[in-house]
């Protein structure tokens, strides 16, 4: 059947209400843009990581690794000559590290991934580094120069072009605080997109040059292996294991990328969940818009029904309108998502570098799947949000005019059911928080949010009953009308209030969570960082381990006048089949250890056991992640082979969500031959100026580049990193808030504009334009007040869930909930201002419109 005229009518309705439809389109666009940009940022980071891992791992099936000090390079020679192995297993030694290029004006830091290889062993592993390969990747490598020139290296042709380098040019690379010179001895010309991205920022050098660059003469990081599958491979692995020196172990090459991927899972999931929140807010906006669109046209739909339009035609009509909004919003959102993604990928990369591992993302990975998912989500959420009002439209009886009072009565009758539904959803949401699964927990959180939204109408009715009398006392009949009007038009006001409650409570929840986290972190820093001066080696590459420091410098510092105590620090990552274990080596004395707060274990016995007894304590995230508790044993790969360390406590730590194992220097030295340090801290005698000590320390360090910070500076930097980490959360919170704000603005504006005739009647009866202003403002103000008041308890509940459930399960940290009145006041103000702003336009328009024309607008 042809309903072309119905569609034409619908199209004209959309065109005649541009502000209403425009705001809905913007709402969908923002929601989609946030989801797409987060996905693009996550995907780009993952893709960059996968490509760089692939480029570095090559075709290796296994990796032979040593302890923190690496492997002696004699191991490679011995294994290649070993009986039963020689010629049967492809092996390639590797030295790996990072070096930073000098920062350019206006451009961020650029870090090169340095790969020291043996060119003659490379062919089976990384063909792009094979000298003279004239295939798809045709390297122009001067092998002679690469092997003989000190500091010679090879870059991809694209990287060389970007850096303005030609063959034979030299450039500076900052490694462990010192500037080193590298000569470009070759460029890798790659033609395919994957290789181009994989090789971006990769600097390949001869292994000896890389050892010199990193000051690791005589040691290598690992040996890549290609071992065939099946029995033959098993036998070879057995033979290889028998020939290994103590402390060396064989890991599957794939396990490394998997565990690294696992590291950032919770971080990415949290970002995705937050981005979906923006889409939920966008969905509410569509729901609002379509509901108002239906409500406004209820009499019209009644006429169409009387003329013979069927329910399915009306349903299709409303859904069609929503689809138009969805398609327009989605298209706009996808385009904006790419723009937003370019900014967010930098924030995501920064956080990954701060918290997890070194990663350089140079461009967005624009995968079709992201756009398809964004489009499906945008259009799907729009249709889903419009389905309820579309269904509602089909319920409109085919009568010319349906009395408003009947509609409202029907809505009020449905109120107990909505309330019961809200309570059920709330309960279901709370129950979903019990299982220890992050995705289920997020579903529970969504259930709680939606349950609270459904309870908003009944809470509004109760609140307005309470306010009617004081409003009357304050503003007379107009005050009573304002309060009564909110309840009288509950079918419209409730949706607007629920949307505003969701937006503001989410804002409160995230705000309280971040605030609590920051304060908990600040207290932890106060307790943990008690020394006067902290010394590390600058490592612009970032990452957990950082650069190595010569222990002689610490000894020189200890001998300086005025220095009363030196605490050394060693950070290492131990490779295990289950993934890397991060080890913190501390403990010159009990005082240094005991400043860490034990959550489990007896400090009186635990710390002495750690200091002298060979025991370890693990951080809270480590304990949660690996299920390790006091009394258990922790197997770690030492230079003398695997060894079980007794765990005597679980301590508070916010340095890594991957978890840390803390052991004393004495224990570390017993099992690992690694004299190097990652840093040290010192205390000065009372009355000695810490800044003067820093100056003297610089002088004592000689040429060694050191990063020396005072206690206060280190705390400030730590909090800066925290703030940087949560910047992306703040951006998402802002965007979700913006979507909700637009939603509420459009809902309240529609509500007030719908009352034009009623206001016209009031004007005709002698109400002045300023009184119309008062009435409209009082009513929207009351809506804001209701939403603001309701959102505070809901927001605090959301904060508690995020702190005690989501955060603990995502990152394993115990955060103490702190409620700063400022956050609550800010949220309350947001609700009130949003509502008041929404009343401005209708009030202005009403005050300018003559009562006669308002009355004519039926």
């Amino acid at each position: 059947m042809s309903t072309a005229l119905l569609w034409r009518s619908s199209r004209r309705h959309l065109v005649r209400h541009p502000w209403q439809i425009g705001l809905a389109v913007i709402g969908v666009a923002l929601g989609v843009a946030v989801v797409v940009s987060i996905d693009l940022a996550n995907t780009s980071a993952r893709r960059a990581f996968a490509l760089s891992t692939e480029a570095v791992t090559g075709r290796a099936t296994h990796q032979l690794v040593g302890g923190p000090g690496g492997l002696p390079d004699t191991v490679f020679r011995d294994l290649t000559l070993a009986e039963g192995l020689a010629g049967r297993i492809a092996m390639a030694p590797l030295v790996e590290g990072y070096g930073a290029l000098p920062e350019k004006e206006g451009k961020g830091r650029r870090v090169l991934h340095v790969l020291g290889v043996d060119p003659f062993s490379e062919a089976p592993f990384r063909p792009y580094l094979k000298p003279g390969d004239g295939g798809r990747s045709a390297p122009a490598i001067d092998l002679g120069a690469l092997l003989t020139h000190p500091g010679a290296g090879v870059l991809s042709a694209e990287s060389a072009r970007e850096l303005g380098l030609r063959l034979g040019d030299s450039f500076h690379l900052r490694v462990a605080g010192a500037d080193r010179t590298v000569e470009l001895a070759g460029v890798l010309e790659v033609t395919d997109e994957g290789s181009r991205r994989a090789l971006a920022d990769l600097l390949a050098m001869d292994i000896a040059a890389a050892q010199e660059l990193f000051g690791r003469a005589g040691t290598i990081d690992r040996i890549d292996l290609i071992i065939p599958e099946g029995d033959r491979g098993g036998k070879l692995l057995g033979r290889l294991a028998a020939a290994l020196p103590p402390g060396a172990q064989i890991l599957r090459a794939s396990s490394r990328s998997q565990t690294t991927e696992e590291m950032t899972r919770a971080f990415r999931l949290n970002l995705t969940a937050l981005s979906l929140l923006a889409l939920v807010c966008g969905g509410f906006l569509i729901y609002n818009t379509m509901t108002f669109s239906v409500v406004q046209r209820r009499p019209l739909i009644g006429i169409l029904r009387a003329l013979g339009a069927t329910r399915s035609e009306i349903f299709a009509l409303v859904l069609g309108e929503a689809a138009a909004v969805g398609v327009a919003g989605t298209a706009l959102g996808l385009a904006s998502g790419v723009v937003l993604g370019r900014g967010l990928v930098q924030l995501v990369t920064q956080t990954i570098n701060d918290l997890y591992f070194v990663l350089s993302v140079r461009e967005l990975a624009l995968t079709p799947l992201t756009f398809i998912a964004g489009a499906v989500l945008g259009i799907g959420a729009t249709l889903l949000a419009a389905a309820v009002p579309a269904w509602e439209a089909t319920r409109t009886p085919p009568r010319a005019v349906l009395a408003r009072s009947i509609l409202e009565e029907r809505y009020r009758k449905a109120l107990p059911r909505a309330t019961a539904g809200g309570l059920a959803l709330l309960l279901a949401g709370l129950l979903l928080l019990i299982p220890h699964n992050l995705v289920v927990s997020f579903s529970g959180l969504s259930g709680v949010i939606l349950g609270c939204a459904l309870l908003a109408p009944v809470a509004t009715v109760l609140l307005m009953r309470l306010l009617r009398r004081p409003m009357g006392a304050l503003f007379g009949v107009l005050g009573r009308m304002a309060a009564g009007g909110v309840v009288a038009a509950l079918s419209r006001t409730a949706v607007a209030i629920a949307a505003l409650v969701i937006a503001v409570s989410v804002s409160v929840g995230i705000g309280v969570m971040i605030d609590s986290f920051r304060q908990t972190l600040s207290r932890w820093l106060e307790r943990t960082l008690q020394d006067d001066v902290y010394v590390t080696v600058p490592s612009r590459a970032g990452g957990f381990v950082g650069a190595d420091l010569d222990p002689a410098i610490a000894r020189r510092a200890a001998a300086m006048a005025g220095v009363v105590r030196v605490e050394t620090l060693r950070r290492v990552e131990l490779a295990t089949p289950e993934g890397p274990v991060r080890l913190i080596v501390l403990g010159t004395d009990l005082w240094g250890l005991a400043r860490h707060e034990l959550q489990q274990g007896d400090p009186a016995t635990a710390w002495p056991a750690v200091l002298d007894g060979g025991a370890v304590v693990v951080s809270e995230p480590f304990s949660r992640r690996h299920g390790v508790e006091p009394g258990a044993g922790l197997r770690l790969p030492t230079d003398a082979g695997p060894r079980l360390f007794p765990v005597v406590g679980v301590y508070s730590d916010f340095a890594s969500d991957q978890g840390l194992v803390l052991m004393s220097r004495a224990t570390y030295r017993r099992f690992w031959h690694d004299p190097l340090l990652s840093g040290f801290s010192l205390n000065v005698a009372r009355g000695v100026d810490a800044d003067r000590t820093i100056e003297r320390l610089r002088a004592a360090a000689g040429d060694a580049a050191l990063l020396i910070r005072s206690n206060r500076a280190l705390k400030r930097i730590s909090l800066d990193i925290f703030d940087r980490t949560f910047r992306i959360t703040a951006v998402l919170r802002l965007l979700a808030g913006l979507v909700a704000f637009i939603g509420v603005l459009s809902a309240l504006m529609a509500l007030q504009l719908e009352r034009m005739r009623e206001l016209g009647v009031l004007r005709a009866n002698g109400v002045t334009p300023s009184q119309v202003w008062q009435l409209v403002t009082a009513q929207t103000g009351l809506l804001g007040l209701a939403a603001g008041l309701l959102s505070l308890p809901v927001g605090l509940a959301l904060a508690a869930i995020m702190i005690f459930v989501i955060n603990r399960r995502s990152f394993g940290w115990t955060i103490h909930m702190q409620v700063a009145p400022g956050v609550l006041l800010e949220a309350f103000g947001l609700a009130l201002v949003a509502a008041l702003l929404a009343g401005l336009y209708p009030a202005w328009r009403m005050a300018r419109t003559s009562p006669a024309s308002a009355l004519r607008e039926e």
Binding site: L5, H13, L307, T310, A400, V401
Partner: protein, 227 residues
């Protein structure tokens, strides 16, 4: 001769604030083809309810409505809608034109709802627009027309799809006397010429003079009285 529409023991009760209010009790009537029947009664007496029952918009509490041999209460909601679409034309007190459609599109709407109209049907519908004197306003939107003009468009719309039954609910209630009379004459002449049955609810004494039969609703009873 078989009547076009029949009311058989028709009762309609509404629930209002927890109480039952009966608007029609065991009403019986038959409307012949081509006749103009007028319903009179006080406001709220049930005239509009009776029109809604006749069109299948509403369902009776008891009894049945038969139009052209079809028992409306035996039909599903969708079937009643399709029946109404094909066989019933409406004229409302408040005109109820679709504001987002032009005058011409409003007249063609019932035809479009029935399916793709033939060229002949379209031409006939547009002839109706000429007959109500608004051919020159065909491209205008309803808000540019006066009340009388809007109601004339509504009359053309009610007849455009060649219905069996035309139902008019206070068609002059929102117009001044002179305009009301013009609309009334137009409605009467067009329906009679097309041989349609029309049932009209009204307060207007002028209509009673044009009617073939007059029914009065009082205290929920429907009774015929002399025109």
């Amino acid at each position: 001769m078989t009547p076009l529409a029949e009311l058989r023991n028709l009762t309609k009760t509404y629930e209002e604030g927890g109480r039952q209010r009966t608007v029609l009790c065991a009403a019986n009537a038959a409307f012949a083809r081509g006749e103009l029947a007028v319903l009179v009664g006080r406001s709220g007496s049930g005239k509009s309810t009776l029109l809604n029952l006749l069109s299948g918009i509403d369902l009776p509490t008891a009894g049945e409505v038969v139009v052209d041999g079809v028992v409306l209460s035996a039909l599903s909601e969708r079937e009643r809608t399709l029946f109404r679409r094909d066989h019933v034309g409406f004229v409302f007190q408040l005109f109820n034109l679709i504001p987002t459609l032009t005058v011409e599109e409003n007249v063609l709407l019932p035809l479009e709802l029935k399916g793709s109209p033939t060229a002949g049907a379209r031409a006939a519908a547009l002839d109706l627009l000429s007959e109500v004197g608004l051919a020159d306003r065909r491209a205008a939107f309803p808000d540019r027309l006066s009340g009388g003009e809007q109601q004339r468009v509504a009359v053309a719309r009610a007849l455009a799809h060649d219905p069996l039954l035309v139902l008019a609910d206070e068609p002059t209630g929102n117009l001044d006397l002179e305009t009301g009379l013009q609309v009334l004459e137009l409605l009467d002449s067009l329906t009679r010429r097309a041989g349609k049955t029309m049932v009209m609810a009204t307060h207007s004494p002028e209509v009673v003079g044009l009617a073939d039969r007059v029914f009065r609703i009082e205290d929920c009873r429907l009774a015929e009285r002399a025109p």
